[in-house]
């Protein structure tokens, strides 16, 4: 009967040890997880920002080219047209990259939630 006592306290200790180990492993893996971002929040703002940036840059380059070549306003107009396309492309790209970053984080968190039992 006296042998029973240390054994039950050991199973308890084992459980606590396992818990501590899995908590520690979880913490280590969670370090790599990323913060959540609300998808779709401020979509209009994002598109506007990308479009205006692209138009500003390509329009600016066109302006300087016009100055240099003396072709005002043609190069700038062409560049603004190109800027629209670039802006759309950048909107898509930035969204993809920020999303890809999000999706990498989510499954790793799922794995962490259920540590393998042994």
């Amino acid at each position: 009967m006296t042998e029973e006592d240390p054994k039950t306290s050991f199973t308890e200790l084992d459980a606590r040890l396992r818990a501590a180990r899995s908590r520690e492993d979880e913490r280590v893996t969670r370090e790599t997880a990323t913060a959540p971002e609300k998808p779709g929040a401020g979509a209009a703002m994002r598109i506007a920002v990308e479009m205006i940036s692209a138009l500003l840059v390509s329009g600016g380059i066109g302006w300087f080219l016009d100055d240099w070549l003396g072709t005002r306003p043609w190069v700038m107009l062409a560049m603004l047209l190109l800027g629209c396309g670039i802006g759309l492309r950048n909107t898509y790209r930035t969204a993809m990259r920020l999303n890809a970053d999000l999706h990498e984080g989510i499954p790793s968190q799922d794995n962490v939630a259920k540590p393998p039992e042994d």
Binding site: T34, E37, M45, E50, A54, L56, V57, I61, I86
Partner: protein, 245 residues
């Protein structure tokens, strides 16, 4: 003057507190400068005072300091890899500076330095030039392959390369514009609703509810924009180091 004070845009005005001129450059100490100093003092106090005990079991403030450290370290590791470790102090300072500017700017009667395009553009251009320099130093002429997508027919190159170059040049502008626009929009909206509360008197409770909700939203935006600015910096750094999109 009083009419201008109530304009939602009045909060963005730069007020010179001390006129300073260094070698012909206007370096006056303004309300913007004041809040920048408050920002960096707040960050420094939070990160050094909380770590004073260097406790094994962290208290609340030490946890916050450690969490922010691990958050940025994780972001850099995940998006750039081990080679990004060198740039950790810069990326961390960038994130904290933007985050604290955004959040401190939400205090009534304070000033948001990140709601000025010149400030956000200043930071964006530093990131852009720094990242470009890192890429050129690391890869020399091979850095230009960033503008020539692989597996594209030769005859399309004359069209694609300018597009890629313009896209690349767009980065600092969109980086600056995104932060500036979000901060300015949020603060203007808060001010407008605040004006409604005052104007409506007793019925001001309705816009007051809206203000509370908006305030919560702005706190999220403040964090999110600091996060987006930082993570895009990480992604651009990754492009420069590993030469792929």
């Amino acid at each position: 003057m009083s009419a201008e004070k109530h304009s939602p845009l009045a909060q963005f005005e730069i007020k010179r507190l001390v006129d300073i001129d260094i070698a012909g450059i206007d370096a006056s100490f303004t309300n913007s400068s004041l809040w920048m100093i408050i920002t960096i003092v707040a960050i420094t106090l939070m990160l050094t005072m909380s770590m004073r005990g260097r406790a094994m079991v962290p208290g609340r403030w030490q946890s916050v300091a450690e969490l922010s450290y691990e958050f940025i370290a994780g972001m850099l590791r995940e998006n750039v890899g081990s080679q990004g470790r060198k740039y950790f102090p810069f990326v961390f300072s960038l994130f904290m500076f933007i985050l604290f500017s955004n959040v401190l700017g939400l205090i009534p009667y304070s000033f948001t330095s990140t709601s000025h395009i010149i400030v956000t553009f200043g930071m964006a251009i530093v990131v852009f030039l720094g990242v470009t320099l890192i890429g050129i130093i690391r890869h020399k002429a091979k850095f230009l392959s960033l503008f020539a997508p692989a597996g594209v027919p030769m005859f399309l190159m004359p069209l694609l390369i300018p597009i890629e170059v313009i896209s690349y040049l767009t980065r600092p502008v969109s980086l600056a514009l995104r932060l500036f626009a979000n901060m300015m929009a949020g603060h203007t909206l808060l001010k407008v609703f605040g004006g409604f509360v005052v104007a409506l008197g007793v019925f001001g409770v309705f816009p007051l509810v809206a203000i509370v909700a908006l305030y919560g939203l702005e706190l999220i935006v403040a964090f999110l924009q600091a996060y987006v600015f930082t993570i895009l910096t990480c992604l651009y750094l990754n492009d420069a180091i590993h030469l792929h999109h």
